[in-house]
């Protein structure tokens, strides 16, 4: 990791406008390379190209980002540096009272992992940093994530730290986060970046946006796993 120790900030920011397009429906669609249906279904041709969104500058797990200590959902402590070392680390910020986007994202990753060979899956760690640490204790995170592991060998781990530290990490990784708001009826709302950042042995050149399909994750994780070896 030492040769990659330069800490970069703001690396995610320069996603080209060309990456995003407004469709005729007035909505923005996720662009991914080689997304023609014929390409996705097999490993021919453009299958060697990543489909997630490339970062203009890599994000590197070094310095405070790597060393921040979290309580884990399995009762221990860890750091992103430790989780990322020698692994594919998919990093996501979410919260358990999020009814739609968060479970959709985690389930999509889980489905992707269920489609990959065991040796690839063994290299993957999926970490959710809670953006609502007051309610998402390590035990709550453990129960929540147990619904996603689906019998595959992926290590889903929940990471818990005080809100200020979580926000500092989000800031360092260009993941926007706001403080949780609880409405009168108990709805918990946390504005949060919905991207999943993909670190290969502590360095990320790719992220995936919220609408990413399980096929795209499976495809890209296969490619990233080759980089790891």
């Amino acid at each position: 990791m030492s040769r990659r120790s330069t800490r970069r900030r703001g690396g995610v920011a320069v996603l080209a406008i060309a990456l995003l397009t407004v469709t005729a429906c007035g909505q923005v669609s996720e662009p991914t390379e080689g997304q023609a249906p014929a390409v996705l279904s097999t490993s021919a041709g453009a299958a060697d190209e990543m489909q997630g969104a490339p970062l203009a500058q890599p994000l590197v797990l070094a310095g405070p980002v790597a060393d921040q200590v979290f309580q884990t959902s399995d009762g221990g402590t860890t750091t992103l540096g430790e989780l990322g070392q020698g692994h594919l680390l998919l990093l996501y910020f979410g919260y358990t009272n999020c009814p739609d986007v968060c479970p959709t994202t985690l389930a999509t990753i889980s489905i992707a992992l269920s489609q990959l060979p065991a040796d690839v899956v063994a290299d993957v760690r999926v970490a959710m940093v809670t953006a609502d640490p007051e309610r998402d204790t390590p035990a709550v995170l453990a129960d929540y994530l147990s619904h996603f592991d689906g019998g595959n060998d992926a290590a889903f781990v929940g990471l818990h730290a005080p809100l200020a530290e979580v926000h500092a990490l989000g800031s360092a990784l260009d993941v926007p986060l706001s403080a949780p708001v609880v409405t009168d009826d108990g709805t918990v709302i946390v504005d949060h970046g919905a991207q999943v950042i993909g670190f290969v042995d502590g360095r990320a050149d790719t992220l995936w946006l919220g609408s990413t399909s399980s096929a795209t994750y499976a495809h890209d994780l296969t490619l990233l796993d080759r980089q790891l070896r």
Partner: protein, 201 residues
């Protein structure tokens, strides 16, 4: 299934800054192709594709529907929640009539409250927002689908489990009430965006 893309921070972004080993032309080409693919034939497109190509919903392929007056509901289901506090339901409402109607109330005896929500936001983050009462324009669909509009079931009890059903009543201003029994589908059989329509609405 396109969601947070619109909230992605584009701070300082400019096409000229997007340089990554000469992939720009390829990306742009792919991008144009995607734009074509994503043209909005029907909001129900990805949803129906998901029914057949998604994981393996344990509740089977039968989702709930029904009709009251000119308002029809199709494809209704609840996703087995990972949290005990909140669950999400999805369905499509079609107004087959010639006058606008409005979804004014949602209730379930098995939830503390049910609200129509959406994901929106600015500055690169996703923000869940209460839709309140939802207009269903004459001749149009309102689609609740993962990552976009959803029906939020607060404090569902009993906790929905795959294979169960959850009763839900939709109250329309003009058409009246429609009672449904929504099947609960497995979480990790959760509909993912169709590979054929990765960013389609």
């Amino acid at each position: 299934m396109l969601l947070m893309t619109s909230r992605w921070p584009l701070r300082g972004a400019a096409p000229g800054l997007f340089v990554r080993h000469g992939t720009v032309p390829a990306l742009l080409a792919a991008f144009l192709a995607v734009g074509t693919l994503a043209s909005c034939t029907s909001p129900a497109g990805p949803t129906s594709a998901v029914v057949t190509s998604g994981g393996a919903p344990t509740a089977g392929d039968v989702r709930a529907g029904g009709q009251v007056a000119a308002l029809r509901v199709d494809g209704g289901y609840v996703v087995e929640p990972a949290s005990p506090s909140v669950a999400a339901a999805y369905l499509t409402i079609t107004n087959t009539g010639s006058a606008d109607d409005e979804l004014i109330e949602l209730t379930s005896p098995e939830a503390k409250s049910v609200k129509a929500m959406t994901e929106g936001g600015t500055s690169g983050s996703t923000r869940m927002q209460d839709l309140g009462q939802v207009v269903v324009p004459a001749g149009e669909d309102v689609v609740f689908t993962p990552g976009e509009k959803h029906l939020m079931l607060m404090a569902p009890s009993p906790r929905p489990s795959a294979g169960d059903t959850v009763p839900l009543t939709l109250v329309f201003r003009d058409a009246g009430e429609l009672d449904l029994q929504l099947p609960v589908e497995s979480l990790i059989g959760l509909p993912a965006p169709s590979p054929d329509h990765p960013g389609a609405p």
